[in-house]
């Protein structure tokens, strides 16, 4: 049986690769773009031409020039360096949001879908309750209560987000658990936990991963929005939302102070949402049909 399983896995890998080559050049293109953005975040200390927090009041509000590509802000921070460091902070924050909300969401969704009955009803009603709030509003209330900081913003967004993952995973688990091979696993006498984690959940990865990729962008947007409102990362941290917030009083005269951090955010969000869409078309729907 093990031999059959591994050979079928290989065959499937082959199919994915062939489909990939034939139709999904965009996945590769956006994948490379996303990898580059992640690399900018990871190697920020090496890439940034200056210290993102180095003050140089004498050069405040210098427009973009060959010496400082994105110009200088109100305290003479180099905007290019801060935008590069901002990539690192935004990606790290978005990553944490996804880890936490996926962790809770997958667990709740899997248990609800697998157990069914009262447990399902209860867990899903709790999830619905969280969805009954406009997300940003609940996130604002939670961060306000916990105290403004990037860490608390991440916690607040995770609290707001886990229900969407719970729903996604639950609906997938509901389809998967009706399949023949799960019945077979039951017949073999495997424990529920083993069936759930070894045989049901692996079938959910495709859809969860493609969704999470799209959500990287939205997590970045939401964290930046909270920072913009003064609830997330605090100045002088080089975070996109708080960079825009601190330069806001001056942007009518010095457009570059808010334009570049915003542009970086925009490009990042777009790349991840296009990549997520492409992944969904390649793996998500396919994974759905396979069962």
């Amino acid at each position: 049986m093990a031999v059959a399983a591994s050979s079928s896995a290989r065959a499937r890998g082959g199919t994915v690769l062939r489909r990939f080559r034939a139709r999904h050049v965009p996945v590769a293109a956006f994948g490379v773009a996303a990898a580059m953005i992640v690399a900018i975040g990871v190697f920020a200390p090496l890439l940034a031409p200056r210290d993102p927090n180095a003050l140089d009041i004498a050069r405040a509000f210098q427009p973009p020039s060959p010496a400082a590509w994105f110009g200088m802000d109100e305290t003479g921070h180099d905007i290019l360096s801060r935008t590069i460091w901002g990539t690192r902070i935004s990606l790290a924050a978005a990553g944490m949001v996804l880890l936490i909300s996926m962790g809770i969401g997958i667990l709740v969704g899997a248990v609800a879908g697998y157990e069914g009955g009262l447990v399902d009803e209860l867990l899903m009603r709790v999830a619905d309750l969280f969805l009954a709030f406009p997300g940003l509003v609940l996130a604002i209330a939670i961060t306000a209560a916990l105290g403004p900081s990037l860490r608390n913003a991440v916690i607040a967004i995770s609290v707001v987000w886990w229900p969407t993952y719970a729903r996604l995973v639950r609906s997938r688990v509901l389809t998967v658990k009706e399949t023949l091979y799960i019945e077979a696993a039951h017949a073999l006498g495997l424990s529920d936990a083993k069936i759930l984690f070894r045989h049901v959940l692996p079938q959910c990865w495709g859809i969860v991963v493609s969704r999470a990729t799209v959500d990287v962008g939205y997590a970045i947007l939401l964290t930046a929005s909270l920072s913009f409102l003064g609830l997330g990362s605090q100045p002088p941290t080089a975070e996109w939302g708080s960079m825009i917030a601190t330069s806001r009083p001056y942007f009518f005269s010095y457009w570059w102070t808010v334009t570049f951090p915003g542009l970086a955010m925009f490009v990042t969000v777009l790349v991840f949402s296009f990549l997520g869409d492409a992944l969904y078309e390649t793996f998500g729907i396919k994974g759905g049909r396979q069962v």
């Binding site: 009603r125 619905d128 309750l129 969805l131 009954a132 709030f133 406009p134 997300g135 940003l136 509003v137 609940l138 604002i140 209330a141 939670i142 306000a144 209560a145 916990l146 403004p148 962008g217 947007l221 930046a224 929005s225 913009f228 409102l229 003064g230 609830l231 996109w240 939302g241 825009i244 806001r248 942007f251 009518f252 457009w255 808010v258 334009t259 915003g262 955010m265 925009f266 969000v269 777009l270 949402s273 296009f274």
Partner: protein, 336 residues
């Protein structure tokens, strides 16, 4: 059986309402540590804090506190705002109409434009129009709304001078007589055209930003649903009967697509409502979102939590309305 559906929905709304208030209650009472200390200020003596704790009822069991919190909410008693020292309900009365106007206009514009663009894309699948609409919509969703708002202010106010950057009405134009509290409606009703025109100009950019940030989601949904409906047999029948293209698209296509489109609208409204908070801050729009954000800096919890409850309830009411609309549009549910 339509009544059973409505009653079930209304009962669920009550449960959600209890859940929402329980959540905001927990946020105010449990997380900030000591609300009495927060209300009294860091300089207050231990004794003053103790007196205030008794006065605020914080020494009573949590369940009792929650019940009295509910009773207060039911009678629109939201407590005293720490910053303005006025009842929060008075503040809300001042700020809510602005948010309502922004939200209502945004929802109308959003519904019409996302349906129109989605249908236009769906009847031209694979053609340039389709790609243009989809790209435009996707790009809009990726735009950070606060950043887009500032860029639009830069373009339309600073450089072109066509539209105002902030506020709800020109400071030199008197607001229209208060009938509905919505400036557009009141301005038109009293034929106060200068006020109407100024209110419309002030609404333009905030509405564009609010709508654009969600438009892509709506367009995508409408397009998918419409494509599905247009693939049905009865559409082919209608076409083969020789009906003109527009009649088929509107009468046979859109009318059937509307039902699934409307079920998704409630979720969209939630996001739009949330989005207005950011937009209010960027455009100095005198609404409750801006009021709540301003309250955070002074740790004005009664204000923040009241706004949270009000927005959640507004959303709840809108979802109920959508349910009723849904019921009215889809006669099948009545006999289900």
């Amino acid at each position: 059986m339509s009544w059973r559906f409505l009653i079930a929905r209304a009962l669920w709304a009550v449960v959600v309402l209890l859940g929402i208030t329980a959540m905001t209650f927990c946020l105010t009472r449990l997380i900030p540590g000591d609300p009495a200390r927060a209300a009294a200020g860091p300089e207050a003596s231990e004794q003053a804090v103790e007196t205030l704790r008794k006065a605020m009822g914080l020494d009573r069991p949590l369940a009792t506190q929650y019940l009295s919190y509910l009773r207060d909410l039911a009678s629109f008693n939201f407590g005293l705002s720490i910053q303005t020292q006025r009842p929060v309900s008075e503040d809300l009365d001042v700020y809510f109409p602005a948010t309502a106007e922004l939200a209502v206009v945004s929802i109308l514009v959003y519904t019409v434009s996302s349906t129109a663009l989605g249908v236009l894309a769906a009847i031209n699948p694979g053609r340039p129009v389709d790609y243009m609409i989809r790209t435009f919509a996707l790009v809009g969703v990726g735009l950070p709304s606060f950043w887009l708002g500032m860029l639009l202010q830069l373009a339309f106010y600073r450089h072109l001078g066509w539209l105002p950057a902030t506020g709800r009405i020109d400071p030199f134009v008197a607001p229209p007589a208060r009938i509905t509290t919505l400036y557009l409606v009141d301005g038109a009703a009293t034929a106060n055209w200068p006020a109407f025109w100024s209110a419309a100009q002030h609404l333009a950019l905030p509405v564009v930003v609010t709508v654009l940030s969600r438009l892509g989601v709506g367009v995508k949904l409408t397009r998918t649903i419409m494509l599905e409906v247009l693939g049905e047999d009865y559409i082919r029948t209608a076409r083969s009967k020789g009906l003109s293209g527009l009649v088929v698209i509107y009468r046979h296509g859109l009318k059937n697509a509307l039902i699934p489109i409307i079920t998704t609208l409630a979720m969209q409204f939630s996001a739009l409502l949330g989005g207005t908070v950011i937009v209010e801050v960027v455009f100095a729009w005198p609404g409750i979102g801006r009021y709540a954000v301003g309250s955070i800096k002074t740790l004005d919890f009664p204000a923040i939590m009241s706004v949270t409850v009000v927005l959640a309830v507004a959303f709840l009411v809108m979802s109920l309305l959508v349910d009723i609309l849904y019921l009215w549009l889809d006669p099948r549910i009545k006999y289900a």
